[in-house]
Amino acid sequence: MTVSNILMVGVGGQGIILASNIFTAATMYAGFDTKKSEIHGMSQRGGSVFSHIRYGQEVFSPVIPEGGAHFVFSLELMEPLRWLDFVNRETVLVSSDKRINPANVDTYPDGVAAELKRIFSTIQIVDVKKLQSKIASATFLNVALLGVLSGFLDLPLPAWETAIGETVPRGTFDKNWSAFTHGRTLSDGATEKRSDTGVIGDKGRAPDRG
C-alpha cells in the first residue's frame, strides 16, 4: 500500500515541469502506478511552480496529502520553505543552492540554508555553479539535479534512461543523460543504504526487464 510522494518545486522557467515529466515516466517504466499534478498558467510567469508526484502499487489522490511528502526536490533554495504543509520530520530535501529574488525584491532573505537544515533531517544542497561546470550547459541543470535525487530512490537506471529519452527535446538526449548520470554520482543517497530512506522498502525492487 506504500505510496511514495515527491514534491518538486521551483520558479517558473527553471524546468520543473520537464523534470517532473521525466520522473513520472520513470516511475511508470519501473512498473508502478503513478500520478502527477501541477498548475499551469499564471505560475509560469516567474511565479512559484510545483508538481506533485506519487507512485506505488495503487495511487488515488494526484495531490500529496498534507504532511505526506517523502522528498522535496527544489531548483531554488528558498522555495522549499513555502511548502512546509506537506513536510514531516522524515522528509528528505534535495535542493539546488540557486538563489532567485522574487520580482520587486532586492535582497535575498538571510538564513535560508540554516532554516532548511533545521527543518529537514536529511538534506542535500547542491552547489550548482560547481555542477554547471561539469555539464554541457545550464539548460541541463534540472536534469542533473534530478540525477542527484535519483540516487536516493530505488528506480532502476534503464527506467530513467527511457523516461529521459522520450521526454527531452530531440537531439538533446546525450547531453541530458550525461547531466543526469553526473548528478547521480554526486548524490548522497547513492552512498546511503537504500532501505534507510524508508520510502520504498522491498516493494520498490523493480521487476527485471529486457
Binding site: 511508470m28 499551469h40 495531490v63 496529502p65 498534507e66 504532511g67 520553505l81 526487464r209
Partner: protein
C-alpha cells in the same frame, strides 16, 4: 537506450502516461471524432492541442466559445462526431447556443467539455459548471482520473447519439492537469459524416416547434435519470464503517485516500442523478456524507429526494478539497477518531517573500503599463497575461471582469460621468481577447457615439494560455497560414479617422508615449495598436528555427 525485449512493459502494453486533457483528446479520437473546436482557456487548452496532432480530425481555434459551439452544432447536425472545448467561464460565452441545442439534439455525437478551475489557479471566478447541466437540461459526466477522462469521453459520444442530446463532460484543474497511466485503444472506423439533411421541426427553434421540443427534452431527461440507476459509470464501492460518501471527480480520489475502507457511491454521471441507487446506498450506511467541491450540487438534490445527508456543514463552498481537507472536518466534528501522528506543520522561522507571477523581463506590455502608471489614467482592463499590469510595480489597471469587458466598461464610465468625464479612461485589451469579444464592444462605442480610447496590446499570440494563434496572428492551430484581421480597416469600418488610429512599436517608449498622450486629448472614438511580439514566443520561434 533500453533494449526492448519480450516482457518489456513498454512494448507489450498499450499504456500511456497522459494528462486528463490528453486523455480526453485520445478518447475523442478513439471514438472517431471528426471535428474539434474550442477557444483556449486554462485548464482546457491542451485538449485541442493534443487533438490537432491526430491527422484524421479537423481542429480549429474558434474566435470565441460561442462560435466554437455553433461550429460544433453544425458539424454534429451534418453527422460528424464533434468535441467542443472551453474553460468554465467560456461556457458563459457559449451559453446561448448551449441552451437551445439541448432542444434540437444531435446527429453526430456532440460532447462539450467544461474545464472548471476550483481555487481559481488561473481564472476570474470559480463558478461550478455542474449547474449548467441542470440549467440547460443536459447530462454531464465527470471523470476522476486520466483513464476515466479517456473512457468517459468515448462513452459520452455513444450516449449523446443514443439519447439525441449533447453531453457535457466536466473536468477540473486537478483532472485536466494531472497525469496518470491510461490504457488506450485504436480509433473506431467512423466513416464519413452523413451530411446535413433538412428537419425543420427539429432544427428550427421558432416558438411553435420549440414548445414541442421542450416536451421531448423533459421526457429525455426523465429517461436518462431512470437509466442512470443502471449506468456502470455510477457505482457503489462496498466498505466498512458507518459513514458512506457520495462523491465524484477528483474528490473521489481524496475520499479514497483519506478513508481507504469507507463505502463510497462514486458518481460518474453527475447529472441527472441516479435516485434509486442513491436510496439503496443511503439505506446501507448510517450516515451519508456528500464530499463535493464548490456548490452544494449533489447535497441539495439528494436532500430534495427526502434522503438525509450531510456535507456542506463540513466542507467549504470555496476552493479545492484535498485528502486532508476531506478528513479534518469529520475529525473535528467527532464523526471519526483522530489518528496519531498528526503533527502540526512547521512554520519557517524566517519570512519567505511571496513570488507572485509577473510580466516577463522584456515583455512588450511593460512599456504601456509603465506609462499608464505615470499618467495615472483610469484603466479598464481585460483577460490575459497583461492583467498582471494590475500588480505592482505598475498598479495600472482598475477593472477586470470578463473577456472583452474593458471596452464596454470604459463606455459605461464615460456615460455615467457625463459632463464630468475628462477623457482620462482607457480600455486596454490583448489581441486575442479583442478578436474574441472586444470588437463587438468597439462597434457599440461607435454606434453610440462614445469617445472611448481603446488600446490593443498585440503581442502576436494568445500568450497566457501558452501561445495559441488567433485571428490577428496570421496562422491557424495547424500552423498553416491564415487571413489576418486588419486593424486599420477595422478602424475605418467603425468610423475612426486616420488621426485617431495609430499603430506603434511596443518597444519604443517614445512612440508609445507620444501616441497615448496625443490620442488621450482627442474627442471621438480612438484606437491605438501597440505591437510587439511576446518574448516567450520569440524565444520559441528562435529555438525552432535553429
Amino acid at each position: 537506450m533500453l533494449a526492448h525485449g519480450s516482457g518489456c512493459t513498454i512494448c507489450v502494453m498499450k499504456r500511456q502516461l497522459l494528462s486528463g486533457n490528453e486523455a480526453i483528446a485520445r478518447g475523442a479520437w478513439e471514438a472517431g471524432v471528426h471535428v474539434g473546436t474550442g477557444y483556449p482557456g486554462t485548464p482546457s487548452t491542451e485538449i485541442l492541442e493534443a487533438l490537432k496532432d491526430y491527422p484524421e480530425v479537423y481542429t480549429e481555434w474558434s474566435v470565441n466559445e460561442k462560435v466554437a459551439l455553433e461550429v460544433g452544432i453544425g458539424a454534429s447536425l451534418a453527422g460528424g462526431r464533434t468535441l467542443v472545448t472551453m474553460k468554465h467561464v467560456g461556457v458563459n460565452v457559449a451559453a446561448d447556443p448551449l441552451f437551445t441545442i439541448s432542444y434540437i439534439g444531435v446527429k453526430g455525437g456532440l460532447v462539450i467539455v467544461s474545464a472548471d478551475d476550483p481555487a481559481m489557479h488561473s481564472s476570474q471566478n470559480e463558478q461550478d459548471n455542474r449547474n449548467y447541466a441542470h440549467a440547460a437540461r443536459m447530462p454531464m459526466l465527470e471523470p476522476a482520473d486520466s483513464q476515466e477522462a479517456r473512457d468517459f469521453t468515448r462513452i459520452a459520444f455513444e450516449l449523446s447519439e443514443k439519447y439525441d442530446v449533447p453531453f457535457l463532460l466536466r473536468s477540473t484543474t486537478r483532472i485536466s492537469h494531472a497525469r496518470s497511466i491510461v490504457s488506450v485503444a485504436e480509433r473506431a472506423a467512423p466513416g464519413r459524416p452523413a451530411g446535413f439533411y433538412r428537419n425543420i421541426r427539429k432544427f428550427v427553434m421558432i416558438p411553435a416547434y420549440a414548445r414541442l421540443r421542450h416536451v421531448a427534452v423533459e421526457e429525455r431527461m426523465e429517461a436518462i435519470a431512470r437509466d442512470a440507476d443502471e449506468l456502470s459509470l455510477n457505482r457503489i464501492e462496498e466498505g466498512s464503517g458507518g459513514i458512506g460518501f457520495v462523491t465524484s471527480g477528483v474528490v473521489y480520489q481524496y475520499v479514497r485516500e483519506a478513508f481507504p475502507d469507507a463505502p463510497i457511491l462514486k458518481l460518474g454521471m453527475v447529472y441527472p442523478l441516479p435516485e434509486n441507487l442513491i436510496r439503496t446506498f443511503a439505506k446501507s450506511v448510517e450516515t451519508v456524507v456528500v464530499a463535493e467541491e464548490l456548490d452544494s450540487f449533489f447535497e441539495s438534490r439528494i436532500r430534495a429526494m427526502g434522503i438525509p445527508v450531510r456535507g456542506k456543514e463540513f466542507y467549504p463552498r470555496l476552493g479545492e478539497l484535498s485528502p486532508g481537507r476531506v478528513r479534518a472536518p469529520l475529525v473535528r466534528a467527532g464523526l471519526i477518531p483522530a489518528t496519531d501522528g498528526g503533527e502540526a506543520p512547521t512554520a519557517p522561522a524566517i519570512t519567505v517573500p511571496p513570488r507572485p507571477p509577473a510580466l516577463c523581463p522584456g515583455c512588450p506590455h511593460r512599456t504601456v503599463f509603465g506609462l499608464l502608471h505615470e499618467l495615472g489614467m483610469k484603466v479598464t482592463g481585460d483577460i490575459g497575461c497583461y492583467t498582471l499590469g494590475a500588480l505592482p510595480p505598475f498598479s495600472a489597471m482598475d477593472t477586470c471582469v470578463d473577456m472583452g469587458a474593458s471596452i464596454g466598461v470604459a463606455q459605461g464610465i464615460e456615460v455615467a460621468e457625463g459632463d464630468a468625464y475628462k477623457r482620462d479612461t482607457v480600455a486596454v485589451i490583448g489581441d486575442s481577447t479583442f478578436a474574441h469579444s472586444g470588437i463587438t464592444g468597439l462597434i457599440n462605442a461607435a454606434y453610440n457615439g462614445r469617445e472611448s480610447f481603446v488600446i490593443v496590446l498585440d503581442n502576436g499570440t494568445t500568450a497566457m494560455t501558452g501561445m495559441q494563434p488567433n485571428p490577428f496572428s496570421g496562422t491557424r492551430i495547424s500552423g498553416e497560414g491564415a487571413f489576418a484581421l486588419d486593424y486599420g480597416k477595422l478602424a475605418e469600418a467603425v468610423g475612426i479617422d486616420r488621426e485617431r488610429f495609430r499603430t506603434v512599436d511596443a518597444y519604443s517608449k517614445e512612440e508609445v508615449e507620444r501616441a497615448v498622450r496625443e490620442l488621450a486629448t482627442l474627442d471621438k472614438l480612438k484606437l491605438l495598436v501597440v505591437k510587439g511580439p511576446c518574448v516567450i514566443l520569440r524565444r520559441k520561434q528562435k529555438k525552432e528555427a535553429s
